[in-house]
Amino acid sequence: MRFIDEYRDGELVKGIVGKVNELLEELGREVKIMEVCGTHTMAIARHGLRNLFRRNLDLISGPGCPVCVTPGSGFSLVFQAAETGRTVATFGDMMRVPLNGRSLSTLRGEGFDIRVVYSPYDALKMAEEEPEKEFVMAGIGFETTSPLFASVILECNRRGVRNLRLISLFRLMPPALNTLLEAGDLQIDGLILPGHVSTIIGVKPYVEIVEKHGVPAVVTGFEPVDIVESIRMILRQLVENRRMVENEYTRTVRHEGNVKAVRLMQEVFKPVDAEWRGLGKIAGSGLALREEFRLFDAVEAYGLKPVETGEPPGCLCGEVIRGSRKPVECRLYRKICRPDNPVGPCMVSSEGTCAAYYYAGIEK
């Protein structure tokens, strides 16, 4: 496919990797680079990129898997919506997340109406086609995804659709990155920044964070050429002693981002403090519906109450999300916790670090 195949050119990847390894040799110390986004984690695993580099490059995965960072209390709201007779529309990624021995998938087996949608717009179409039912969208995702839901809410408003509501569990990436770097314990040498979050928010929101923490960062596309080139750009910054935000994914990411999408997101949502699995509560890192759109708030309309749930015993998902532990360090990984029997969300989501490691066959 055009604009994909060209970026999977093995010879070109090999050429760039050669330079990466030269730079790694020149640096001569261990270099730790975090890929923030789960889609990058999956791409690195799928294309086997990890094995191409000199041993002194350590690629660690960050908090960029939306399903993984959503705490159990968030999922409990979605479960309640289904259990109280509403039709839940969700992305497929959430279906098998375990919560106290159940999942949306098992709830569906118990007869509750839970439907997997490819797009939030599908939920709007279903709500129009079945006006006698009350629909609830599970709103999970980062800045890439929340503008889509904002546009669906605005469309509901315009068309007078009143049987579709939202549980907003959206999270914002820059505050989480800031929190992670502030903690300082990971000693990250460079950041591979999420390409599609950046497509929406642009390059600017990272500048202050990078300046404050002095970490080279590169906005990156999702194909092998993009990823190895981004690693080369980060290493180059380290060798030249520069610390700045660069953009490798110039074919898609504009410096100012998608201004219209950000405007829609801000029209419908306001930032609120939010809890992240593994990172705790982060100021201004979530999104809630604004007063004018309260009508669409499923939590308020149906009196849903978040139920605090502990982490599954032995599960390291929280540490894996913050990059402080790797899946292979977990006693459950591959033995008890597998994609067909996931203990925590990091093994469920197609973007979860544990799932990425599992499918790449990484054993130690």
């Binding site: 889509l148 929406i200 898609t252």
Partner: protein, 71 residues
């Protein structure tokens, strides 16, 4: 979940477009973009086009990389 796939716009109908992904056609929402035309490549995430791909920049970057790193 932040998956975005580039596809070519084949037809625009108001706020919707038919987009071809290597021959597979899908209906895609255009709410987040202004001024898209047939022949544009857009990045599609969960049924919405989130940005127009800059074809010229894409080719320039590829050519530069090929010149420097491909034997």
């Amino acid at each position: 979940m932040c998956l975005g796939i580039p596809g070519r716009i084949e037809e625009v109908r108001g706020t919707e477009a038919t987009v071809s992904f290597g021959g597979t056609r899908r209906s895609v929402r255009l709410d987040l973009l202004d001024n898209v035309s047939v022949g544009d490549y857009v990045i599609v995430h969960a049924g919405f086009a989130i940005e127009v791909l800059d074809q010229e920049t894409a080719l320039q970057m590829l050519n530069t990389l090929r010149e420097v790193f491909r034997e």
